[in-house]
């Protein structure tokens, strides 16, 4: 009797719809349509940031930080995929601290969505300016309007730079989460990534610190990568770009944007690095979560 039941269960499972073991809730249920590896319920519950309230840092709620400081921010803008809710914190913790690397492709594809949004946003913005330009230049250059607008409409990042972790953390954890996220993005969008930065000193876990501490800590935490091979790659890459007039569009990739001190420090370093090579860079930042 038991064997028969067991057989029947097996046969039935052949005909049953494919269910999957959800990476977030751990239950076996209907897979999500958009994201791979999670169930439909969990997909719906993801707190996407669709309309950032703060245009600068991409925060989903009002952001006093950006208006308060008043100083020039070295990045054009930050965009994040999700709001850092407790579910998302748990998920990131699973990945980063517990080391559940199965989550990497999922987090990466979530970041990819943020990239698509950023891209769409930039294109909309550019279209607006392009139309103004067109109106202005209607008499001077009416020859290639099609080409002009097509070039403007397509916005594409040129390079991804992951935020580095310190050597000791890297060995302890076995991976750099930002680099893995950038890997997924670069695989999907065909954007090259280069580890242009290194961490000069071990700053300890950011999550245990206050805002002021974080900012003070981050001041000189990063430097250009002294590795000759990476710099060579960078040079070769710069050459392949040829004589483009528009500035380089570089995206800094990280897992989370809290106060933005990490991103700002990285952006400063990249800017100086680009200046050394005589290039102007527009630096964006793309993070998986915004707290």
């Amino acid at each position: 009797m038991d064997t028969l039941t067991a057989w029947l269960t097996k046969v039935r499972s052949l005909l049953a719809p494919a269910l999957l073991h959800c990476l977030i809730c751990g239950k076996t249920s209907r897979p999500a349509a958009g994201l791979h590896g999670i169930c439909a319920g969990c997909e719906e519950a993801i707190p996407w940031i669709r309309q950032p309230r703060c245009q600068k840092c991409g925060r989903h709620v009002g952001c006093p930080d950006c208006s308060r400081s008043g100083q020039a921010v070295p990045i054009v803008c930050n965009r994040s995929a999700v709001a850092y809710t407790s579910v998302m914190r748990e998920m990131l913790g699973q990945y980063k601290y517990r080391g559940n690397e199965q989550l990497a492709p999922l987090l990466g594809s979530m970041l990819d969505r943020a990239y698509i949004r950023l891209k769409a946003e930039r294109e909309r913005g550019q279209q607006g300016t392009a139309e103004i330009q067109k109106a202005e230049s209607a008499f001077t250059g009416p020859f290639f309007p099609g080409i002009q607008s097509a070039r403007n409409r397509r916005w594409q990042a040129d390079l991804l730079v992951p935020v580095p972790v310190s050597e000791s953390r890297f060995v302890e954890r076995g991976f750099n989460q930002a680099e893995r996220l950038a890997d997924v993005l670069s695989g999907r969008r065909g954007i090259p990534q280069l580890p242009l930065l290194v961490r000069t000193h071990h700053t300890g876990k950011q999550s245990f610190k206050h805002r002021a501490e974080r900012i003070a800590d981050m001041k000189h935490a990063f430097a250009g990568n002294p590795d000759g091979a990476v710099l060579l790659q960078f040079e070769v890459w710069l050459e392949t770009l040829g004589k483009r007039t528009r500035p380089l569009q570089i995206i800094i990739v990280d897992d989370i944007y809290t106060t933005g001190s990490t991103i700002r420090a990285c952006a400063e370093t990249i800017r100086t690095l680009c200046n050394d090579y005589g290039k102007v860079a527009e630096i964006y930042s793309l993070t998986w979560a915004r707290s």
């Binding site: 517990r98 199965q102 060995v171 076995g174 991976f175």
Partner: protein, 751 residues
């Protein structure tokens, strides 16, 4: 992490060692250390690699077989041997996109002379400066240093303390560091030296947390995990064959024996060492005169013959050795690039991530096993019973278990921990029965463990045990507990915490072994078995043991004792059956059947607290509205696993602030509410198996004042589970009556 690997020649035989700090090894094999070291001069030392991924190094060590030609090998030949042994690994690494074959090896260095004085001092300087990795520098440059004697002695002491701290544990490197920071502050920086010394002394085992079994073993485990989970408890032939398997899987087991010998007779008996060595190399031939071991391999063979499937799989398995997590026994499914060892495909275990990641290059430290204590039958059962205030039935079971605990010493011979089932009905007072057992083991200087699947039970049990054994150090372990690194004589833990122990306890008591998450979880069963010393004792406590164990107990394959009656001496309430439409239908119609309401009113009339169990969380809300409408003026609440105020509601229910509580199986265990009645709706639901029906029925009549609570099964149909549950209750009652444990006539109540 990456480690050094070398081969060392002693008495004309080679043996491979792994090193966390090569300087220590060089000193050890120069016989340079002082008191407490007892190293001996090696004839030749071949440094195979100074930086190899730990997983590979362990494979080299475990796969090494000595033959005579090795004594004449030059460094080229050793290099060729190295390449040959790791061919498989290097190929796989290349496949997963890592470095090319051949780029892994640096040159092999053969050292024939023991270290001279100056070089020894260099080694010490290196140990002191904390840079243990001599990757680029040579150990044979000049330097200065003095006070050799002091240092070797202090390092010896450090090793002693480390071993003491780690005794019976199985910890990953970050856990060791955590433990040292808390318990031995100041040592966490250079613990590697101490650990290496302890390893050389044979008191500490260094292992890769995930490693492939050598030569196709343990397939059985991967294929029928769930079967094994049950099968392992009790069935003798079964368990011994599995032991055999386990032994083959961890050749280091026998190593530890060797090491044990090494520690006890460190310098005088080279013959002994030779013997141990031989035993290590020819693991399966079991030439050792220890009977148990021979039996063991025979049992393993028998298992292999019985399972043709296993033999058939062996070919495939040999080609692609399955990598397993040594901590939890699961197959390591993940494989990712790793910065710690530099491999592009470093395997990790996804099953036990919650306790820190176990991976192929993660160092797992285990202390070498020490034999279980010889418990004495010092306390007589009657004295124990009086001392702990046990009832007659409790005392009877405790006596049987005590007898088992002490008598088994005669026939314990390497067949793995002995098992004993204590089958006590709900409300029998299981915890008290274990007190005399714990007392016996603790009195003999042994270590005891009480494991239970759930954290709230741990928290409830801890103060009771602390009161019962005020003289012993008690470690209370659960996720996030403060006692994480406290070494207790008596440990009380959730079953997950057992992953951190290895051969650490003389007595392991597993409470509610049929409860989630322990039940049908091969990982936790594996962990529990690992936690017990091979010659220790397992005691299972349950009111509703799994079918398999019941059968084994019935056929006499599993020693057991039953407690058929509650501590107050009244029989268990026998469930009544009432026919009732499914809850779904009742809710649709907006009406509750008259039988149900009548029974409820009767219970309310006798001022009982009422549990109403439903099969689905979704039914709770609907039922609540219906009940509140039908029975006004009574406080009715509902709770489930999704309810954040669960604990508050249960407390309110216990305090009689809530009269009727609608709930799911989450409250089937561990809740004692005086004067309560139980209604189980949709009792024919598949979600209610025999065990959970018995458990739910066991919520009624637990107190002395109201021993005859009422239990109703309400369902449209009879199911086998219901019948069996009632059968079980009746059987227990009749056993109790026969044995004369019932102190009054069974009170009868009618509809």
């Amino acid at each position: 992490m990456r480690v050094s690997v070398y081969a060392v020649e002693i008495d004309g035989r080679f043996k491979i060692w792994i090193s966390l700090n090569l300087a220590i090894d060089l000193l050890w094999w120069s016989a340079a250390g002082e008191r407490g070291w007892r190293g001996r001069a090696a004839e030749k030392l071949v440094l195979l690699s100074s930086s190899l991924p730990l997983g590979w190094a362990v494979k080299l060590r475990e796969c090494f077989r000595f033959h005579k030609m090795m004594c004449r090998w030059s460094s080229e030949e050793w290099a060729a041997y190295l390449r040959d042994s790791l061919q498989e690994e290097m190929r796989r690494e290349e496949e997963s996109g890592g470095k090319q074959q051949g780029t892994w090896m640096n040159s092999v260095e053969v050292i024939t002379e023991p270290l001279r004085n100056q070089e020894q001092q260099n080694c010490w300087a290196r140990i002191d400066s904390g840079c243990d990795k001599g990757e680029s520098e040579s150990y044979f440059s000049s330097g200065s240093g003095d006070g050799l004697l002091d240092r070797s002695e202090s390092l010896g002491i450090a090793a002693d303390r480390l071993v003491e701290m780690l005794s019976g544990r199985s910890l990953l490197q970050p856990e060791v560091e955590g433990l040292l920071t808390e318990q031995l502050a100041g040592m966490e920086r250079d613990w590697r030296s101490a650990a290496q010394l302890a390893h050389l002394q044979g008191r500490l085992k260094l292992q890769a947390a995930v490693s492939a079994g050598i030569g196709g073993k343990g397939e059985g485990r991967s294929n029928n995990n769930s079967e094994k989970a049950e099968g392992k408890k009790g069935d003798h032939s079964n368990s011994s064959s599995r032991r055999g398997e386990g032994d083959r899987e961890y050749p280091s087991n026998s190593r530890s024996k060797w090491a044990e010998g090494d520690r006890e007779y460190p310098c005088n008996s080279s013959s002994r060492r030779g013997e141990g060595d031989r035993e290590y190399h020819s693991n399966s031939s079991s030439r050792r005169d220890e009977g148990g071991r021979v039996c063991l391999s025979r049992a393993g063979l028998a298992a292999a013959l019985r399972l043709p499937l296993l033999l058939w799989r062996r070919g495939a398995a040999r080609r692609r050795a399955v990598e397993r997590c040594l901590r939890c026994g699961s197959v390591a499914t993940g494989r990712t690039p790793c910065a710690a060892c530099g491999l592009a495909g470093c395997a990790y275990c996804e099953a036990c991530l919650a306790l820190g990641r176990s991976r192929a290059c993660a160092l797992l430290l285990r202390s070498a096993a020490s034999p279980a204590v010889r418990g004495t039958a010092g306390i007589s059962p009657t004295v124990a019973a009086r001392r702990w205030g046990l009832s007659a039935a409790q005392a009877g079971a405790a006596g049987a278990a005590l007898q088992f605990l002490t008598a088994r010493r005669q026939h314990a011979a390497g067949t793995g921990p002995e098992r004993f089932l204590l089958w006590a009905v709900t409300g029998a007072g299981k915890t008290e029965i274990t007190f005399p057992l714990l007392e016996t083991v603790l009195a003999a200087g042994g270590r005891a463990l009480v494991a239970t699947p759930r954290r709230d039970v741990v928290l409830e049990l801890a103060p009771r045990l602390a009161r019962a054994f005020p003289a012993e150090t008690l470690a209370v372990l659960y996720g996030g507990s403060q006692d994480r690194w406290v070494a207790g004589q008596l440990t009380i833990a959730t079953t997950h915490q057992l992953l951190r122990f290895h051969h650490g306890f003389d007595l392991v008591i597993i409470d509610e072994l049929d409860a989630f998450p322990y039940h049908n979880n091969p990982m936790l069963a594996f962990a529990a078995e690992q936690a017990c010393k091979p010659d220790g004792v397992f005691i299972f406590l349950s009111a509703t043991p799994p079918q398999k164990l019941q059968r084994q107990a019935h056929f006499g394959k599993l020693p057991h004792a039953r407690v058929p009656v509650r501590y107050h001496g009244h029989p268990l309430p026998v469930p009544r059956l009432l026919t009732m439409n499914p809850v779904q239908l009742c809710m649709k119609r907006g009406a509750l059947p008259a039988v149900f309401l009548k029974a409820l009113h009767r219970s309310l009339a006798r001022e009982a607290q009422i549990f109403i169990f439903v099969a689905r969380i979704a039914h709770i809300e609907g039922l609540l509205t219906l009940l509140r409408r039908k029975i006004p003026g009574v406080c009715i609440e509902g709770t489930s696993s999704k309810d954040p105020d669960r604990t508050d509601k249960v407390t309110a229910f216990r305090n009689r602030a809530i009269t009727i509580l609608v709930t799911t199986t989450i409250l089937e265990r561990g809740v004692t509410v005086p004067r309560s009645d139980v209604f189980i709706l949709d009792a024919d639901s598949k979600l209610f198996d025999e065990a959970s029906l018995v458990q739910m029925a066991g919520r009624a009549g637990r107190s002395k004042d109201d021993p005859a609570g009422r239990v109703y099964f309400l369902s449209p149909e009879w199911t086998q589970s219901q019948r069996k549950a009632i059968g079980q209750v009746r059987t227990m009652n009749s056993i109790a009556r026969k044995q004369g444990y019932l102190n009054r006539r069974e009170p009868s109540w009618t509809l």
